[in-house]
Symmetry: C2
Subunit: 254 residues, 2 copies
Amino acid sequence: MQETLKDSKDFHNYSDKIIQQLSIDCVVFGFHQNQLKVLLLKSKHINEWMLPGGFVLQNEDIEAAAHRILGIRTGIQDIYLELFSVFGSANRQFPEIHQAAMRACGYQPDPNHWICKRFVSIGYYALVDFSKVIPTADEFSAICDWFDINKIPDLCFDHAHIFQKALEKLRQNLDVKLVGFNLLPPTFTMGELQNLYETFLGKKLSRTNFQRKMLSLEVLERVEKKFSGGAHKAPYLYRFDEQKGEAFLEKKHF
Amino acid sequence: MQETLKDSKDFHNYSDKIIQQLSIDCVVFGFHQNQLKVLLLKSKHINEWMLPGGFVLQNEDIEAAAHRILGIRTGIQDIYLELFSVFGSANRQFPEIHQAAMRACGYQPDPNHWICKRFVSIGYYALVDFSKVIPTADEFSAICDWFDINKIPDLCFDHAHIFQKALEKLRQNLDVKLVGFNLLPPTFTMGELQNLYETFLGKKLSRTNFQRKMLSLEVLERVEKKFSGGAHKAPYLYRFDEQKGEAFLEKKHF
DNA sequence: TCAAAAGTGTTTTTTTTACACCCATGG
DNA sequence: CCATGGGTGTAAAAAAAACACTTTTGA
């Protein structure tokens, strides 16, 4: 991250409570209407979009920090998280942007402010059930909303770069880490799962073989209840079985 | 990492030059006599083994910091490096160990010393050509040497955990990232490469099919010069072609 | 000329892919 | 009763694994 904390109520002692020069940036992915979406914020003070982010409290695990940051934005507590990279260039600092924000708040811009220093940022991507998320802005952000990953606006700081890296890793992990199931509701049809895969891979897949392949992973449980809807055979609902999923990941790595 | 800097000549201003509460730990792998090895240090002051590590200077990229740390230990400058994880538990601090070290140096132990704080550590693994490395101790370490990964001594701090994570990631990346070639000299025989794979995977592979599989990756170039040795046909030497390797990684990810 | 190690060719097995077929449902 | 989406079976193609054969070398 890099938020602007200039007008936080406890602004003056906040910097003592966190690890200096270390931030967390989160790339939150969701899946809706056959589109892969990412959650972005718009700052109140500077007219730019950014990824949700924050800092690590002194007595807080870094992963707990990521969960806290995401809890605020999404309303969900138990989110699937994965550390995908660390951004640590020596020149990774944004004094101009932060000073602009300070000005916008009516403060004297201060290039020596702790937030203007060089920051090492830890990148997490999160996978969420789109329908469960309540995008929530806060005291620093005017808007919090979903964007189709093919239509994201310009991002400030180096967030465009961070986003690209997250997407890259996510695609790499699609097969390896059973990424897909974290983006769907607890139960889903095979068609929905296939749509997700096709969106990820950017190509159509064979319906019949896709079904076989997914079932052969032995991580899905068919829910006997059926789905009711259109003028056609009702599809089965499937549930991703966490236990089987872990067994799958186990045996993959040996 | 967590080194003990108590007796460094520029001890007093060193902490101003680095990012606070952030460290780097490196797991250096080498391959020798059909064994996977890891480079460990023994501290001068406390009688314990540890991974090489260090801190990030204010005007230094984190990857450059890792290279600097490794350069000291190995004598090699251009090392293959990969960030494999970040260790960021809130309780990741080792005041007792550091204070013991301070005592051992004849200093007053100080629980408020910067090195006793909670540290977030960035884990890199490095892959090196064993024969090129000159294990080098320094002012803080009494010994720097290789250990078979199945026979490593107890490690201090949380370094045993860090090492395990590195090994795990390394195994995962064996096929994906062409890990193996970084552990061999510039030219090698197919047999040597196979030995390396067998050591990694912990099982024997079919010689003939292994050869075909490696050649089918299209990243190896056969060097016409042959090898001279035993009472048998001389094997070809192969060279890993960096360019072809990159092309391979490219197409893997789409 | 034989044993040992290296390289290539061929067959067998397994896995993937393509495609044909049946089922259920609402209009 | 038929169009549509969903599920299963089967044949063809491709990839992996197993195994047989040839080459080179020093003793």
